[in-house]
């Protein structure tokens, strides 16, 4: 008997001209993955995420990042998850940043860990980062809000939510 599907698309949003996307009604999975390909239109802003409308957090963070010349590592406790590690996305035409967030055991009764893989290169500059966030809530994640704090998402921006089922 073939095994059930493991890695399934749940929803995709292409929020051109808006500032916020919200995913909810995830179904029943073990982990979630968000793949973001994004940019701002004319005003640069960061790519941010929060769970269950929690705008306070803290979303404790450890990050490792390189900008093409300087490497840094740090820990902090921001009130949101920075998918771009605290810097703005690009507004360069036809050029997007990528962020992939793995959200582990999102329905579990323990604190939630998120691993972010962030890549952006603008041909002569860029930023690469690996960030881990801890949301210290023991509640299941029932909504995910992805938003920007500057301008609007540009045409071509997409956010896809996938669910992963354990055996």
């Amino acid at each position: 008997m073939p095994a059930g599907a493991t890695y399934e698309p749940i929803a995709t949003s292409s929020p051109s001209g808006s500032t916020t996307v919200t995913f909810n009604s995830f179904g029943s999975y073990t982990d979630l993955v968000i793949v973001a390909v994004a940019k701002n239109d004319t005003t640069a802003g960061q790519l941010l995420m929060r769970f269950n409308s929690d705008a306070t957090g803290p979303y404790n963070r450890t990050l490792l990042v390189g900008d093409g010349s300087v490497t840094s590592a740090s820990s902090s406790a921001p009130n949101t998850i920075g998918l771009t590690g605290g810097v703005s996305m690009t507004t360069t035409a036809d050029t997007f940043i990528m962020a992939k967030a793995n959200i582990f055991s999102y329905t579990g009764s323990t604190k939630k860990t998120v691993l972010v893989e962030h890549s952006q290169d603008l041909n002569g500059s860029g930023r690469v980062g690996r960030y881990v966030y801890l949301w210290p809530s023991t509640s299941a994640i029932t909504s995910i809000e992805i938003y920007t704090n500057g301008g609007n998402f540009s045409s071509g921006t997409t956010f896809t939510l996938y669910g992963i089922k354990a055996a």
Binding site: Y7, G66, S69, D94, M98, E117, D121
Partner: protein
């Protein structure tokens, strides 16, 4: 029955060394591509160059590299798992492991690629972790990917797997 999301498209497992590994005729019906790599060089170049659509371009990559206790970040021309390819003088039977995630590879915008690679040699000075962002400035769909070492050949035992991810 719903269509599968994460689909194995092609694989190359080398039983003898080769100058390069290529995936050609990549269909544009997926959303993203993933390439998983386990590779070693018969020669001395630690660079595994990544070529899209049979064209080397001068687009840059932004890199962060950890070697032992040292971390550095660079912005370089071209796309390569720079310094991350296991070479002939590294520990026997060890291979670089790498993943390339290529979102929206068939879209009409410039392409960004996320690459992560590790080269482990049971050594305090030749253990490398790379995280990289590649830019490929083309609005054309990626239909071909080539992997070419800076010099030497890709060794027998190396393996390259191409997967397609569908978002619906």
């Amino acid at each position: 029955m719903p269509s599968p999301t994460y689909v194995a498209l092609a694989k190359t497992v080398l039983t003898s060394s080769a100058a390069s590994v290529s995936f050609t005729g990549i269909v544009g019906t997926y959303t993203d591509l993933i390439v998983l790599i386990s590779a070693r060089n018969t020669g001395s170049s630690t660079n595994l160059n990544v070529k899209f659509n049979d064209t080397f371009t001068t687009d840059s990559s932004t890199n962060i590299t950890g070697v032992g206790s040292t971390a550095a970040s660079t912005n370089t021309q071209g796309r390569s798992l720079a310094g991350g390819l296991t070479i002939s003088t590294d520990t026997t039977n060890t291979f670089t492991n790498a993943e390339l995630y290529i979102p929206n590879y068939a879209g009409s915008t410039n392409k960004v690629v996320s690459a992560t690679s590790v080269r482990e040699n049971n050594s305090a000075t030749v253990n490398i972790v790379n995280a990289q962002a590649f830019l490929y400035q083309t609005t054309t769909a990626i239909s071909r990917i080539d992997f070419i070492p800076g010099s030497g050949n890709i060794d027998a035992g190396s393996r390259f797997d191409l997967y397609g991810i569908k978002n619906s």
